[in-house]
Amino acid sequence: MLLVDGLTKHFGARAVLDGLGLRVGPGEYVAIVGESGSGKSTLLNLIAGLDRPDAGRVEVDGTDLAALDDAGRTLARRRKLGFVFQSFHILPHLTVEQNVELPLVLLGATRDERAQRVGELLGAVGLGDRGISMPRELSGGELQRVAVARALVHRPALVLADEPTGNLDPDTAQTVLDLLGREIRSRGAGGVLVTHSEAAARSADRIVVLDHGRLREHAAA
């Protein structure tokens, strides 16, 4: 699902990532923890193809992102990746349904396919009756559940979650984490959760710590 090998990234003279390696299999949910400034977001950007490494390889579902140009990486993201962000990034002018179906629209799915998948995912995240609501009518936890549905709707190979509970209260955060883990596992996708919260990390199958540009195993969740 995800294979990261020898990943190196410098900012100036400072090596943020130094020959980092990581493997995530189908249905596996891995949490990456580390202190602020340890390079978690840089790693996530490289895995997502939003940035290019100085050295190393990022392979998602058999595709080496580092070997592609910007348009190629964008198309790879479109097909193979799903995202959940700390600040939700739900488009405010679209309804909940429209936000969730956006990845399917980009992939050219038919209207019926979209309606069926959106209904299925919204039901799975407990928002089956909120499809035509506008984002401003939803709470933070509900918005993040919309984001989870959107991240999974197009059956991505890998879901990347960047501090998905950073803006939520502990109870809501736990609900969202449980939902995210359950949906990733049940759909056979790989999952990478980046967080500085030990509590959030415990919802994953495996925890790795980013320290001085390298990953080391922490403990099983």
Partner: protein, 846 residues
């Protein structure tokens, strides 16, 4: 992509209706003005061509001269030539009509025709006798009038028309009408022989219309005929082409001015699109993360602007057609230029023009959106999704070299000569200067506000007024963000200043010029320039010997056809003093010394120098009374009345060359104790041509001239006001969208203890500072553009120069008004933003 366009982008447009509406209107107003001016000019030109066609009919070519005409012997030579299948002799005269209370006798264009010959060529002018007219009325001494002429002179068929022929009155019976004349065309037709006899033009013709034998061209016939000087053969289309050429510079100028509004609209689109992409920065970045490629994103944003452009263009075309239709119905085809006076045209729609102006509007919208779309597409999505990344937007705009390069390009272009009489490079230079100045705005903002922020921070003022410190620091740190909002203001204010300065310089120069050329206290003229009337000798004696007249200078005006493809040049004949020409002619440079052994002296206008290349010191030949006579050009004078040139000549030299001693004008200096009104009344009562004589005082001429000046610039003022309105709407929309984009920032400030009043104060200070910079840049740019208009565009278009004169009061008032408008709209826009709950405001995503 249509799903994204409709739901993601149109959703934003629906949410921000004011912004969308302003952008559509900015394009619509520009397109409407451009299209309306184009329609009016094209329709007027087309109508004029039709009117010319109605007179010349189906002729292939015409032999023409000035209204002084040529000897009818030429007709015998022409009609006998084998290349001529049919020839129709014509006498065209401008006949003063008597019996009106108007200060100046109205003039009837009268055409004398050989009816039988003309029947084959000029059907539109075929006279139709009244039922009760004499049997051979078409061959009699009666006149046939068009319906518009009957209406104009308040006469009817069966009555009579009193006209002035030379120095005496003639009464012409009205025996029928001209049903083929065009609507609104004032014209009369008479039998040629009777016209020559009754109107004192025996043996004279002014035109011969020709139908050429198959295989003959106008050029070959011109070579075969021995035409006297001042007489030329021209093709049937030449007159239309000539009028088109005459008015071309004026029409192009007006079209360019109209497009200025579209140009400003394009900047407004840029300004608002740029802010819209900043406000949606994280949303657009999310689309990139979700799999929309940078090319797709750029296309989406350009499509968004294109939809605005399509809407604006469509609305603009409808508005333009309505404005043109209304203007033509109310004012006729003449927008104040005097080129198309007397025509009443119908609006002429062509698919080409619709397509052109539609594309211009669409192009302005796309051009305005290009930079914001490219910036959004090129921005790293990872960076753009971070809160606060908005400040990094449009960083490339902070580069100085594009602006400096454009200014340098403007300086190069301004030095290039006109293309076909049109100052194409001058217009492009103005565009380069404007875009260059706007491109430098972020750099200037950084250069001005960074040191200012440091000073305020270091001084006690920074501690006392955190609002001021915050405002200045923000502009200094994010100059592109501040400056893009001002693009529309810089463009509209610069053009406002340029137009106001150009008009003020022009008006001031015209005023000075009128003072110079009107030294006497009373002027008398018999009918209109170019008409067939002149003062009898007895009247000249009365004018000179009136007890109230200290000095009388007599003059006459004639016309010279120096080039058949160009307008006639006016010949001003007066007793000029060759040693003191400056007394009556506003010379632009030193006069060339003249001695009696040289050819007689003439003084030419700037237009004659530009068009015919006559320069001081040269000896030139002029066609006078059918032969070429040599003259020495001894000076150049400024003349705002005749765009196509005038030549001043001493009366003695004119009379020696032509034998024509007729006088049409008199300038009178009065003795103390006599008023112009009294002298005019007494002379009018005594003179034989008193009824047809117009007496005017210099003050009246000046007032009338300035009225005509203001009327001819009325369209310019309207276009200027439109540009100002777009600029002001732009300020409101700019501040509104900036305030909305900063809702989160204001929420944060409220959290840390800023009061709502302080935030409004912050917005007011930012608005004032940025607008002050925009005004300064706009003022400097506007004055440079004014210089280009005054020193390049006007001399190249109209062949006249003027003295630079910036209207300081008006400019000061505009600056204050713009500043006040900016501060007020900034605060009003900010009230909405700060009214949002502080907690909600700091939430992400909206």
């Amino acid at each position: 992509m249509w799903w994204l366009s409709w739901h993601v982008l149109a959703g934003y447009a629906r949410q921000h209706r004011l912004r969308t509406l302003v952008q559509v209107l900015a394009i619509a107003v520009g397109v409407a003005l451009g299209y309306a001016v184009h329609l009016i000019n094209t329709s007027a030109l087309s109508e004029f061509s039709s009117a010319v066609r109605a007179v010349t009919g189906q002729a292939d070519a015409s032999i023409t001269a000035t209204r002084d005409g040529f000897d009818e012997q030429l007709f015998a030579q022409v009609v006998a030539h084998p290349a001529v299948e049919l020839a129709s002799p014509v006498l065209e005269l401008d006949v003063p009509v008597l019996g009106f209370e108007e200060t100046r006798a109205p003039v009837l264009p009268l055409v004398g025709l050989d009816i039988f010959r003309a029947a084959a060529l000029s059907q539109a002018l075929m006279p139709v006798p009244a039922d009760d007219a004499p049997r051979f009325a078409v061959l009699g001494d009666g006149v046939f009038l068009s319906p518009a002429a009957l209406d104009r002179f308040k006469v009817r068929v069966g009555g009579e028309l009193r006209v002035l022929a030379g120095t005496r009155e003639a009464r012409l019976p009205i025996v029928g009408t001209l049903p083929g004349a065009r609507a609104g065309q004032v014209i009369g037709v008479m039998d040629l022989g009777h016209a020559q006899w009754r109107l004192d033009r025996l043996g004279k013709l002014t035109r011969i219309d020709l139908k050429l034998a198959a295989g003959t061209t106008v050029d070959s016939l011109a070579g075969a005929l021995q035409l006297p000087p001042g007489v030329a053969i021209t093709s049937a289309d030449a007159e239309t082409t000539r009028v088109s050429n005459l008015s071309r510079a004026y029409r192009v100028n007006l079209n360019v001015l109209a497009l200025v509004a579209l140009f400003t609209g394009g900047f407004l689109v840029f300004s608002l699109q740029a802010q819209a992409t900043i406000a949606r920065r994280s949303q657009l970045a999310f689309l990139r993360v979700a799999g929309v490629t940078s090319r797709e994103l750029q296309s989406l944003l350009v499509v968004e602007a294109s939809i605005l452009g399509v809407a604006g263009s469509a609305l603009g075309l409808l508005l333009g057609a309505a404005i043109a239709s209304l203007t033509l119905n109310v004012l006729g085809g003449d927008l104040g230029s005097g080129f198309f006076t007397g025509t009443r045209p119908e609006v002429q729609y062509t698919p080409e023009a619709v397509g052109l102006f539609f594309l211009l509007g669409l192009g302005a919208a796309i051009a305005g959106s290009w930079v914001p779309a490219r910036d959004a597409a090129r921005t790293s999505p990872a960076l753009a999704m971070k809160a606060g990344a908005e400040e990094d937007a449009f960083k490339p705009l902070g580069r100085a070299w594009p602006g400096l390069a454009l200014l340098a390009l403007g300086a190069v272009l301004v030095a290039l000569p006109p293309v076909g009489g049109i100052p194409v490079w001058g217009y492009l230079s103005i565009m380069a200067v404007l875009i260059g100045a706007i491109a430098l705005q972020p750099r200037l903002a950084h250069a001005v506000f960074t040191p200012l922020a440091r000073r305020i921070e270091a001084s006690a003022l920074g501690a006392r007024s955190p609002t001021l410190l915050l405002a200045v620091t923000r502009i200094a740190q994010a100059p592109s963000f501040a400056a893009i909002g001002m693009a529309g203001i810089v463009a509209s204010f610069a053009l406002m200043i340029a137009m106001a300065t150009m008009v003020s310089s022009f008006r001031g120069s015209v005023d000075d010029w009128l003072n110079r050329i009107l030294p006497a206290e009373l002027y008398a003229r018999v009918a209109q320039t170019g008409s067939i009337a002149y003062f009898p000798d007895s009247d000249l004696e009365r004018l000179a010997n009136h007890p109230g007249v200290a000095r009388a200078d007599f003059s006459r005006f004639a016309r010279l056809q120096l080039d058949p493809a160009r307008a006639q040049v006016l010949l001003v004949v007066r007793p000029y003093d060759v040693d003191r020409p400056n007394a009556e002619l506003p010379l632009t440079g030193a006069a060339v010394p003249w001695t009696p052994d040289m050819p007689p002296p003439i003084w030419v206008t700037e237009a004659v120098v530009d068009i015919y290349g006559m320069r001081p010191g040269q000896t030139v030949e002029l066609p006078l009374a059918g032969r070429m006579t040599a003259f020495k050009v001894v000076g150049v004078w400024r003349d705002y009345a005749r765009q196509f040139g005038a030549i001043a000549m001493r009366t003695s030299d004119y009379q020696a060359a032509t034998g024509d001693t007729t006088i049409t004008d008199a300038a009178l200096w009065l003795k103390p104790g006599y008023t112009p009104v009294r002298v005019a009344e007494e002379l009018r009562a005594q003179m034989a041509a008193g009824a047809a004589t117009e007496f005017v005082q210099p003050g009246d001429i000046r007032k009338l001239s300035l009225q005509i000046f203001d009327r001819s610039f009325a369209v310019t003022y309207v276009l200027e006001i439109a540009a100002i309105a777009i600029g002001l709407i732009g300020i409101a929309a700019t501040f509104s969208s900036q305030a909305i984009a900063r809702t989160r920032e204001f929420g944060m400030l409220r959290h840390i203890g800023f009061t709502r009043g302080q935030i409004l104060g912050l917005l007011a200070i930012e608005g004032a500072l940025v607008t002050a910079l925009a005004i300064a840049v706009g003022l400097a740019t506007g004055l440079v553009v004014a210089l280009v208009l005054i020193k390049v565009i006007n001399p190249q278009s109209f062949h006249w120069t003027m003295d630079f004169n910036a209207p300081q009061g008006l400019i000061g008032g505009l600056m204050v008004a713009l500043m006040a408008a900016a501060v007020v709209t900034a605060v009003i826009a900010g009230r909405r933003a700060v009214s949002i709950d502080a907690v909600r405001a700091v939430r992400d995503d909206w």
